[in-house]
């Protein structure tokens, strides 16, 4: 009997310790549906103050003849995340301004105006301060976050401006928060409460508490094409190649939900339910990746598409068409 209790005790103690630990972690103030009292507010304030100084170090201003935006350095070799509408075009020489005001040379790379994700690279030699990128799917609606940037342009005396908020909506190609933004913030980073970059400021809405950010997922998905200076703009989309499928990002992969009549996809016999896997050997997971791969290939040129129909692996060589003029309101 005594032995039994002894063993039980030995078994329950670690369990007890484990569950206490888990409970303590689950109930952080910024993980609750909303702060409940002054203590929660204080915890949120302390957390923000703890991660803010480190986060600010990698925030930059991007200056070109056209104007100024913001950005964030994410790799030691000087890769800068910003907004597609800040870089404008690939291969353009711009200045990147570090928090201390020092200007370094950089060149714009690729991006996409669908999500508004864009990239630049510092070309000078140096050790750059970096901010960690959050992994895919690590942010969700309700998460506390903070926006950093240079609203209205770089101002050394004023410094980098912080605004607190929460994620109010999240879709494949955009994050919406109630962090307040202004012109000049574009391209600046949105951080989570673990000090990781979860988005890049893109557009502001008329209401000051509903602003848009390109999700970090867009950078993960398109890293290679952005680095290779592929830039998808509204006009390159219009003049680029056209496949003619409507897709949805699902657990199984990128699923065809619509095939446009008389399109290249229709001629190549694509069907609803097909899962697109690769284009020209590159793995495709998102709608934006597919659009970039197709639109940066000209009409009349061919692509090789690997796809799944049920369990069956299929490959098609598709000669791309021209993008039809859709009526206003259609995509």
């Amino acid at each position: 009997m005594l032995n039994y209790w002894h063993i039980a005790f030995l078994v329950t103690m670690p369990l007890a310790a484990l569950s206490l630990c888990l409970n303590a972690e689950e109930l952080k103030a910024w993980e609750k549906p909303f702060p409940e009292n002054g203590e929660d507010l204080l915890a949120i304030q302390e957390r923000l103050r703890k991660i803010l100084p480190e986060a600010k170090k990698a925030v930059v201003a991007i200056e070109s003849d056209g104007g100024a935006g913001s950005g964030v350095i994410v790799s030691e070799d000087g890769m800068v995340l910003t907004a597609a509408h800040v870089i404008g075009k690939s291969g353009k020489r711009v200045k990147v301004r570090l928090p201390d005001g020092k200007r370094v040379n950089a060149i714009t790379l690729g991006g996409s105006e669908i999500s508004d994700a864009g990239m630049a690279e510092i070309t000078d030699e140096g050790d750059w301060p970096i901010a960690p990128m959050a992994a895919r799917s690590s942010s969700k609606i309700g998460d506390w976050c903070f926006a950093l940037g240079h609203p209205g342009g770089f101002d050394k005396e004023r410094g980098i401006i912080v605004r607190l908020g929460r994620i109010i909506a999240k879709e494949d190609e955009t994050i919406q928060t109630d962090s307040r933004l202004l012109g000049g913030d574009s391209g600046g980073p949105l951080f989570d409460f673990n000090g990781r970059v979860i988005g890049i400021h893109s557009r502001i809405s008329k209401k000051d508490d509903q602003n848009f950010h390109a999700p970090i997922e867009a950078f993960h998905a398109n890293w290679k094409s952005f680095r290779d200076e592929k830039l998808l703009t509204q006009s390159s989309l219009k003049d680029g190649g056209f496949l003619g499928v409507g897709c949805e990002e699902t657990e199984e992969g990128l699923k065809v939900i619509e095939v446009v009549e008389n399109s290249a996809a229709k001629k190549a016999r694509f069907r609803e339910g097909d899962i697109i896997v690769k284009v020209n050997g590159d793995v495709i997971d998102t709608r934006e990746e597919l659009t970039i791969a197709i639109a940066t290939t000209g009409p009349g040129k061919s692509v090789i598409i690997d796809y799944l129909r049920g369990e069956k692996k299929m490959t098609a060589k598709v000669k791309l068409g021209k993008r039809p003029n859709f009526e206003e309101g259609e995509k």
């Binding site: 569950s19 888990l22 002054g38 209205g152 912080v162 908020g165």
Partner: protein, 331 residues
């Protein structure tokens, strides 16, 4: 027994997490957002302090600015350039008192007013003893109607804001005018110069009796006066001389139509320059909510709101400056 309790806690903990995930399938509810009802509820302590020490100053039945109660005898501080003609102070509980202006201070744009009342037991604001509020720390003010709170964070480096001289509201032509003065290339509609009668094509020859030949001279002379000052401007139009009295405008307000960031910001304060020491925050407050205190989460005032600058920026004079100015004004 013990193990059962802890095990059930463990399960509960996990199920809470699952539940949170499911409610995150939609947009974040308005009440959970940064300025949502649930979030604001956590600020109960600050709310009481903000409501006791903030008043609405009324002229002709309309709110013109907020004020901050600084003594129990009913002395209050407010924004001097916004409080002209204030007749009445209205508290959150609806009590109304007539007010009289005592003194004003140009340097800080603060004015000292006296509430005319027999019962002299008002609840003065409690100033924070911290030299400056923590960067990223919560900041809280009463909303314009004194019905609720607006919350945000201390968002930029405390600093002084340089003086911005007055402007006529015209765009000057190039130097080297045949008539010896400086031509007006464009007149900003409804701005100071247009209101006074200046027209496109006029050639400015004298300002307050002093001859001008170059545009730099005009800019310097006009800029040496403050917005609201009257300057005499002599022009030549169709070979005839005209003289106009121009009440100078504010640079940022006058050239608003050319500034996209200001267009997106809604109404902003007229005077938003020339402050000895400010803290900056991102509270969504309109210009008529300036003059009231901005508090920390303990209900202590860290500053007095002085200028709505743009969509992401409000300046507040620091508690230290406000207290020092009060001493001078109350001498």
């Amino acid at each position: 027994m013990n193990s059962r309790v802890f095990l059930s806690k463990l399960v509960l903990g996990l199920s809470t997490v699952l539940f949170v995930n499911t409610i995150h399938a939609e947009d974040l509810s308005a009440s959970q957002r940064l300025n949502g009802a649930n979030t604001r509820k956590a600020f109960a302590k600050t709310k009481q302090a903000a409501f006791a020490s903030t008043v609405r100053l009324i002229r002709n039945g309309k709110l013109i600015t907020h004020g901050t109660i600084v003594t129990k005898e009913g002395l209050l501080l407010t924004k001097a350039s916004a409080c002209v003609g204030a007749r009445e102070a209205v508290f959150a509980d609806g009590k109304k008192y007539p007010v009289r202006i005592r003194r004003r201070d140009e340097k800080t744009d603060l004015a000292l007013l006296q509430i005319m009342a027999k019962d002299q037991s008002f609840e003065p604001v409690q100033w924070s003893s911290d030299k400056l509020p923590a960067e990223g720390g919560w900041m809280v003010s009463a909303d314009p109607k004194l019905k609720g709170l607006k919350v945000g964070v201390n968002s930029g480096t405390p600093r002084s804001i340089k003086r911005e001289g007055g402007v006529i509201g015209v765009i000057l032509g190039r130097d080297g005018n045949a008539t010896g003065g400086v031509a007006i290339a464009e007149v900003v509609p409804r701005a100071a110069g247009a209101t006074a009668g200046l027209k496109k094509g006029d050639v400015v020859t004298k300002i307050n009796g002093q001859s001008v030949k170059r545009r730099e001279q005009v800019i310097k002379l006009v800029g040496s006066h403050d917005p609201g000052d009257v300057v005499r401007i002599e022009v030549i139009r169709d070979d005839r001389s005209f003289s106009y009295q121009v009440t100078l405008g504010h640079r940022s307000v006058t050239f608003e139509m050319f500034n996209r960031n200001l267009q997106m910001s809604g109404p902003v304060s007229r005077r938003k320059d020339n402050f000895p020491m400010i803290i900056q925050h991102d509270l969504p407050l309109p210009p008529e909510a300036m003059g009231g205190p901005v508090l920390d989460i303990n209900g202590k005032a860290v500053g007095l709101n002085m200028a709505r600058v743009d969509r992401v920026t409000t300046y507040a004079l620091t508690a230290k400056i406000v207290q020092a100015t009060f001493k001078t004004l109350n001498r």
